[in-house]
Symmetry: C2
């Protein structure tokens, strides 16, 4: 059994701990974090929840904290043995160079508290300079998921950027649509089928081949009417910029 | 059998004709359009494909042309008997007031050429001033779909605007993500699971409750890095505006 320490008690840490729990090859040795309350969320996964400074070494130590906390946090880890990885999409692997054995274990997914995920379908993007460590990460990856890919820090940062467009930005578009419905006594349910087929079509075709709508048609009358309906400045800005981008993309590739 | 004429030979006309074809209560009498080539796409649905000026009356005449073509087109229809509807999300019902019996039959979906749709799941939004006509449209609606809703022209325009956010804008975000992947030797397949769960999560939760990402966290370092990666001006603008909107939405509701 490969032993794993998790440092961090947020959503991503929770979902990874829950996934490790289901394997027969890896075991969660301890979970460390500052907040005792947050640590208690992990009581069903391990009996060892503690603070970082009293952690004991494990085969793999996973640092699952916010990007800007990584640099400071690693100074407080009381050991340097074993493999150290972080799980960030944006932070270069080299931030862990103070450890001889280091790497990245990036699950490409948006984790929300209390929303279950099927971990086996989540692509795991791994990186390490040493072959032994890559093997350890590959084994951990395949223990949790069907999809394990080796990519560089630079590629991972670009992938994270692309993921922001796929998830964060589209979800905010859904949110604005919901707000428009609620402001006009319309049920958001009316848009459920469209939302579903939007995703299905983008998954079964190249998204650039299935674009429709007034911006694609450069239908200036509808674009102007829509803008006049939008009462929030930010919504208006988003409508304008995205419509201009779509018109220019299809009229004249960016 | 209720007889139906379709005027228009584009994607929406094709998908509606295909759906009418499957009912036992409604029959496609004729399809009219200017282009003989385009009319030929409908040969499997009806033997009558013709030009508008020689159409003969039907119980329901569906005008399925681009928004800005409706006004001129209706002048060339050689009869005024029966119920006349258009299928536009944006055009008011009143544009058809030259016909005594008029209404709107708006299927809330994004139709792409050659991409099959499950019509029974598409919400049909109907509108008419007369009770008899509403009944005709309700019957046609339920012949094609499980979901038929009566909404006003004003609500329909707002719903169409919301649909632009749900479909057009999120699909363009997917397109940008695909372009970023291709420019960085990454397979867009890596983002498939995220795209799928983005939709599933928005369908099973309120989208505003599941927002994640650097803009939501107001993580200025990642936002700056991402902007520096984007080489296309339009992509940069979209990134900036959407991130600002998300940060402001969650820091301080719009």
């Amino acid at each position: 059994m490969i032993s794993i320490n998790i440092i961090g008690t947020g959503n991503v840490a929770w979902h990874i701990a829950a996934a490790i729990q289901t394997t027969s090859t890896h075991r969660l040795q301890a979970v460390a974090g500052r907040s005792e309350n947050a640590r208690n969320d992990f009581n069903s996964f391990t009996t060892h929840t503690t603070s970082v400074t009293v952690l004991t070494p494990a085969d793999i130590t996973m640092i699952i904290v916010s990007d800007d906390a990584i640099k400071d946090l690693i100074k407080s880890i009381p050991y340097k043995t074993g493999l150290f990885v972080h799980t960030s999409g944006s932070v270069p692997r080299s931030v862990l160079d103070i450890f001889e054995n280091n790497g990245v274990f990036y699950p490409l997914q948006s984790f929300s508290k209390g929303v279950p995920v099927n971990f086996s379908k989540i692509p795991i993007c791994i990186e390490s300079k040493k072959k032994d460590n890559l093997e350890l990460l590959t084994d951990l990856g395949f223990a949790l998921s069907e999809k394990v890919t080796q990519i560089s820090s630079e590629q991972r940062q670009k992938l994270h950027l692309a993921a922001v467009f796929v998830n964060n930005f589209s979800n905010h578009c859904f949110t604005i649509a919901q707000d428009i419905c609620e402001e006009n006594d319309l049920s958001f349910d009316l848009l459920r089928t469209l939302l579903e087929t939007t995703a299905i079509k983008a998954l079964t075709n190249r998204p650039d081949t299935i674009q429709t709508g007034p911006a694609k048609r450069n239908d200036q009358a509808t674009l102007a009417t829509h803008k006049s309906f939008l009462t929030h400045v930010k919504q208006q800005e988003i409508y304008t910029i995205l419509s201009e981008a779509i018109t220019s993309y299809y009229g004249n590739k960016l």
